[in-house]
Amino acid sequence: MTEIETPREAPSVNIGDVSLENVAERQRPSASPEVRDAVFQVKDVTVSYSGNPALTGVSLDIYRNYVTAFIGPSGCGKSTFIRCFNHMNALIPGATIDGTIMYHDQDLYGPEVDAVEVRKRIGMVFQKPNPFPKTIYDNIAFGPRVLGMTDNLAQRVESALQQAALWDEVKDRLKSSALSLSGGQQQRLCIARCLAVEPDVILMDEPASALDPIATTRIEDLMHELKKNYTIVVVTHNMQQAARVADMTAFFSVNQGAEGQRTGILVEYDATPKIFTQPSDKRTEDYVTGRFG
């Protein structure tokens, strides 16, 4: 079992709150990548299912305390890609991954890496809220319990619920079933569940696509709040959402091969305002202006 060191101290370069308007000027990773810590460095990653590539040749860096959004049409492999970061693809029989992903300078797919250690540091929130059929308290406590972090469990549960802005709504009914919550509350519960194990990174796979607009807004506000302490990667179908929450945006698209096979590719990766206002690639422009996809 390999111990992946998670640096707990504050990032070496703290640029404070990054607002959408000035992120382009202040932080252009292509111009000065050394300024900001890269949590993940992805080099030429290809994911295949039973030998058929679903996503090919992706290289990008994911920066600390940023929200990074993956956008693109259906089938472009963005969900496949996000699941590489916490070894979730390993649960799918026949899935293989080539290339390298460095996580804080350690090879995420190195020979001695333990998926459990990885998932402890890199949490995930899914598209459809998936609370366990247990009480609210037991949902949050599940992660700490399986990882043996049971000191001050009640305190840990409360703190996770507070960070997910759910504590006030559920503090009087921690012992009732999580399934009695509304969809939006369930999704915030899933976020709290993930925070309870003190991750470094939170992966969100279309976290608001099953929610109504008000619940969606609350999730987006939460992402703004959480990025102060966590690094967030989010897959979204909703371009406005990416524009609202993300510091960096990666646009993926589908490449039609000679024999008709469809594989996902990374088209463009840049600061969010740049992607939405002056994309360098014609395909990105067509997508963000609604001419395609």
């Binding site: 916490n86 979730m88 649960l91 029989p93 459990v116 250690e117 998932r119 402890k120 949490g123 995930m124 899914f126 459809k128 998936n130 609370p131 366990f132 059929p133 247990k134 599940f142 992660g143 319990r145 399986v146 990882l147 079933s177 399934l179 899933c190 569940r193 993930c194 194990v197």
Partner: protein, 292 residues
């Protein structure tokens, strides 16, 4: 009234209307045949035997004199066998189901062979299990004609049913629950033990109880592994035994009418045990049924 307004009243002569009615009538008839047959049987049995359901029947031993004959040892043996069955089938059945659903790699030929085999075993006639029990348990292992051998052979008989029911229950647990648990850093053991099995427990319990209630109504395999028809003492694990269905079978074949009445009374007792078990299964299902 314009023609457009008139259009929505089709006049009841749609194509397929007649077929639809005939089909409903057929469905009603099928249900009626089942219910009436069952109802007649139960009413007949109750009329014949209810007079004899008394402490003598419930506690006394069989006797050549119908006035003093009871099914005490048989009732006790049936209860013992039910308990042994649960103790044997639930761990083995649930273990097999967990292996097949959560651990087995479907691409391996032996796992697929195992699956087909279990499906087929569920369809093997119970008498065949009786023969197996006689040859393998009673003679091969030298267990003799004892209660334990009877319980073991009934275990083999219902194991495929329990496995299939447990697999259904495990499969009904949504994949998103497993994914959520894995994503929090749980190991496969923790996912199975703390999420999948608790969520599947109502389904597993219901399936197991129904399987056990089927098994304790079985007669043929018990006759082959040597259930005796006259046992005057309470059963022990490694002693001679009888069972309620065997006792009923024996009484119905006696010439005196009184014994047939006794058989009806014993059937009422057996039905009461089975209905209690089934009612418990239904209660479990409703109380802890699927929540998502």
């Amino acid at each position: 009234m314009s023609a457009v307004q008139g259009d929505i009243r089709g006049g009841g002569r749609r194509q397929g209307e007649l077929q639809g009615r005939l089909f409903s009538a057929f469905l009603l008839l099928s249900m009626g045949v089942g219910l009436v047959t069952l109802g007649t049987l139960i009413v007949k049995v109750i009329l014949d035997g209810v007079r004899l359901v008394d402490p003598v029947l419930l506690t006394d031993s069989p006797s050549a004199d119908p006035a003093f004959a009871g099914a005490g040892p048989a009732i006790l043996a049936t209860i013992y066998m039910g308990l042994l069955l649960i103790a044997f089938t639930v761990p083995i059945g649930v273990g097999t189901a967990v292996y097949l659903e959560e651990y087995a790699d479907r691409n391996r030929w032996y796992n697929r062979a195992l699956e087909v085999n279990i499906q087929n075993l569920a369809a093997v006639p119970s008498i065949v299990y009786g023969i197996l029990g006689l040859a393998f348990l009673v003679r091969g292992l030298g267990l003799g004609r004892v209660l334990l051998a009877g319980a073991m052979i009934l275990t083999l008989l219902v194991l495929p049913t329990v496995i299939i029911a447990a697999r259904e229950a495990i499969r009904a647990v949504p994949g998103s629950i497993r994914q959520g648990a894995y994503a929090l850093g749980a190991t496969r053991w923790q996912v199975v033990w703390r999420q999948v099995l608790p969520a599947a427990t109502p389904g597993i319990a219901t399936g197991s109880i129904l399987a056990v209630s089927r098994a304790i109504g079985e007669t043929a395999p018990l006759l082959l592994v040597g259930a005796l028809t006259y046992v005057a003492f309470n059963p022990t694990l490694l002693g001679d035994f009888t069972a309620l269905p065997v006792q009923i079978y024996q009484w119905t074949s006696r010439s005196q009418a009184e014994f047939r009445e006794l058989a009806a009374a014993a059937i009422i007792v057996l039905l009461a045990i089975l209905l209690t078990l089934n009612a418990f299964a239904i209660w479990l299902r409703n109380r802890y049924g699927r929540k998502w």
